[in-house]
Subunit: 269 residues, 3 copies
C-alpha cells in the first residue's frame, strides 16, 4: 500500500484491475430481492456470479468458488441450512467469505441467525450501522433493511465485532467505515439516491466478495470494493432524474470505470 | 376531500406527500418476479420496503410494519402459510393490508388460496378484471397473469367483493375502478406499454400498501396510489422506445413527481 | 423456408410475427435470478409469461400453457419435483418444452438433474458449450454459469444429445449452433457485452419457448428466436456504455424490432 496502514487510490485501482483480470467465481447464498442486482454488479466488475443454495450441491459448489457471500435478506430455515453448509465448506477450503446481516435486529430470528453465522468468523461483515450495532449486541434502532443509525456511531460496534471474528467489519453509510481493529479506513463516496434503489447494500457486499477473492488483504479488498462502488454510484447519480436511471448507470460505471477516475476520485482516510 | 365522495387532485397530492414524509414500512409477502420492481417502486415513492416470509419471523415483522401486501403470484404451501401468519398479525394490529390475487382463476389452487385470504377481509384488493371476476365467483376468462376482461365489466364483481370484505376493491385496466360500495372512483391514466413490463400490477399493489399506511381512508389511499402510478407510467411512456425504457423511467417519475404535475394530471371521476 | 434445410431471414420474420400475433402463454419453471428478465423478454417479444411452480397447480397450469420452459439455475429438490410434474404434463399434452441446463457439469447434483430431465426428451435444449458437453457426457470445463468452451467444439455433443432427445439442441456462443441432427444452422449475432448481463441465456431460452409455441418446426423456431435475440442484443449494444444500458435496450429492441431490420440483419448459414 502507498501508506503502511491504509489503501491509497493506486491500491484501489490495483484491486479493481485484479478482479477484472482474475474474474473470480463468487458463490452467493443471497436473498431473492438482491439476486439480480448482485449478479449484475459482479458481472460489471468482471467477476463471475453464481447463485446456488440446494443442500445437495451447495458444498460441491463452494469447492469451485473463489469467494462466498452469505446474505440473510429473505431467510427461511431451509436457506439457513444452505448458509451453514456453504460457510463450513468455504471455511474448510480457506476461501474468503462475506456476511451481509440484512435487517439484523428487526426480528429475534434474524438476530439469532446473524449471531450464529458470525460465530463462523466471516472474513468480512458488511452492514449498515443498525445491523452492525445489533450484531454486536448494542442498541440498534433497526426497523428493517434501511439504516436508522449513523455509521460513525457504529465504529465501536464494528471494532467489537472484528474482535470476535478476527476479520474485517464494514459499516456503510454516508462515509463507510472499514476496520480490522488494527487499521480503520474511512471511505467517502456514494450518493443519497443510492438508498432509493433496493439491494444496493447487498450488491456492495457481493462486490466485496469479488475483491476479497482477488486480493489477499481483506481490509484492502473491502475498502477498495466500497471505494469503487461508491465512486461508481456517485458518477451514476450525476444528472440522474431518479433511482431508475441510477440503477442501470451504476452497472455501466462499474463496468467502464477507468484508472484515471479511480486515481482521482478515491477518498480514503 | 375536495368533493364529499371522491378524491380530487389536491387529495392525491396530499396522499403522495404523506407517504414521502412518513416513509411507511411496507411488509411484502410477494412473488419472486415482483420483488425487485415492488421494492424499487416503494423506495421511489418514499416508502421503505421489506420482504420477509419465514414462519419464524413473519409475525414479528408484521408488528413493525405500517402496512402489509400479500401477493399470490408464485405460490407454494409454505408461502401460503407465511401469508396466513402475516395476515393474522396485521389484522390483530389493525394495520391495513392489501391482497393482490395474481392469476386467480387460472388454477383451482390459486382460486382457493385467493378465496381463503379474501375471507380475512383485506383492507384493499387490487387485481385485473379477470382476477376480480374469479374471486367474486363470476366467470373470469383469466388464463394467467394478464387480464382478458375489461375492468368496466368487473365493477359488479368488485362491489360484490367489497360487500364480503367490507373494504376497498380496485380493478385496474384502461381505467381503474376503485370501490368501497358507497363510493366508486374511476381513475384514468397509465399507458398500454405498461402491460409489456412484468410485475407492473404487483408494484401498483405495493404502492397502494404504502398509501394505505399513510392515509386513513382506504378508498382515497387506493385511488390516489393508482392515480400517481398511472400518471408516472403515462409520463414514463412518453417517447419511450419500448418496455425497457418504460420500466426505469417509471421509477424516476414516481420519485420525482411534483405537486404541479399531480394537480394538472389527475383524472378521477 | 427459403432454403429446403435452413430458415432464411423471411422465415425468421414470419416466426417473430407469429409470436406477436399469437401471444403464446409460456409457462416457466425457472430460476430466481432469471425470472425478471425472462418475463420481460417474453413480454417484449409479444408473449405472455407465467412463473408457476407449486406442486398443487403446476400440472393445471401446464394445461393452459402453449409452451413450457424448464431452467435449472437455482435448483432444490422441491423445485425439481415441480419440473418433473410440469414436464410430464407438457409431454402429455404435446406442447413444446425447452430445457435450459444452467451450469450442468458444475456439481454432480446439477448434472444428474439435467440428465433426468433430458430423458423426458425436451423439444429444445439450449445451453452454452460447457453445459451441452456436460449433458452429453463429454468433457465440459464448466465451473458455473458462464461458458468456458467454444460453441463450435460442442457441435458433436449437440448432435449426440439431439439423437437422445429426438429434438433440437442449441449451443449458444459467439455463433449459435442449432441442430436437429438432420439440419444444422449457424446463427451469427449478439455482442460480447451480453455476457456481462445476468440471465441473458435464460431469457434467450424463454424466448425460444415462445417461438416454439408459435411455429410448428422446432429447428426453425429455435434458430429464429436466437437470431432475433442476437440481433436485438447487437443493436442494444451499439453505443452502450456498459451492461446496465444493454439490458434495458435489449428489451426495447425486442419489442420494437421491425421486419426490415430482421430481413437485413439475419445471418443464418
Amino acid at each position: 500500500m502507498a501508506d503502511s496502514t491504509l489503501p491509497g487510490s493506486a491500491d484501489v485501482w490495483a484491486c479493481a484491475d485484479a478482479v477484472r483480470r482474475g474474474g473470480p467465481l463468487v458463490h452467493n447464498v443471497t436473498n431473492y430481492v438482491a439476486m439480480d442486482l448482485s449478479a449484475n454488479a459482479l458481472l460489471a466488475v468482471g467477476a463471475s456470479p453464481a447463485m446456488v443454495h440446494a443442500h445437495e450441491e451447495v458444498v460441491d459448489f463452494a469447492l469451485l468458488a473463489d469467494a462466498l457471500v452469505v446474505n440473510i435478506g429473505t431467510l427461511s430455515p431451509n436457506w439457513v441450512e444452505s448458509m451453514r453448509l456453504a460457510v463450513r465448506a468455504a471455511t474448510d477450503r480457506g476461501i474468503p467469505w462475506v456476511l451481509d446481516p440484512v435487517a439484523a435486529g428487526a426480528t429475534s430470528y434474524r438476530t439469532q441467525v446473524g449471531a450464529e453465522l458470525l460465530a463462523h468468523r466471516p472474513t468480512v461483515v458488511r452492514g449498515n450501522a443498525s445491523e452492525i450495532l445489533s450484531l454486536a449486541g448494542m442498541t440498534g434502532r433497526g426497523k428493517g433493511v434501511d439504516a436508522t443509525d449513523e455509521s460513525g456511531d457504529a465504529l465501536e460496534a464494528a471494532v467489537a465485532l472484528a474482535q470476535v471474528t478476527g476479520g474485517v467489519v464494514a459499516v456503510t453509510g454516508d462515509v463507510d467505515v472499514v476496520t480490522d481493529r488494527r487499521r480503520t479506513a474511512h471511505v467517502a463516496g456514494g450518493h443519497p439516491l443510492m438508498a432509493r434503489v433496493t439491494a444496493m447494500g447487498c450488491a456492495a457486499s457481493a462486490v466485496v466478495g469479488a475483491y476479497a477473492a482477488a486480493v489477499a488483504d481483506p481490509l484492502m479488498a473491502t475498502a477498495s470494493a466500497l471505494a469503487v462502488f461508491g465512486l461508481a454510484g456517485e458518477r451514476a447519480a450525476t444528472g440522474a432524474v431518479g433511482p431508475g436511471t441510477l440503477r442501470w448507470r451504476l452497472l455501466d460505471e462499474l463496468y467502464a470505470l477507468e484508472q484515471s477516475t479511480v486515481l482521482a476520485g478515491t477518498r480514503i482516510s
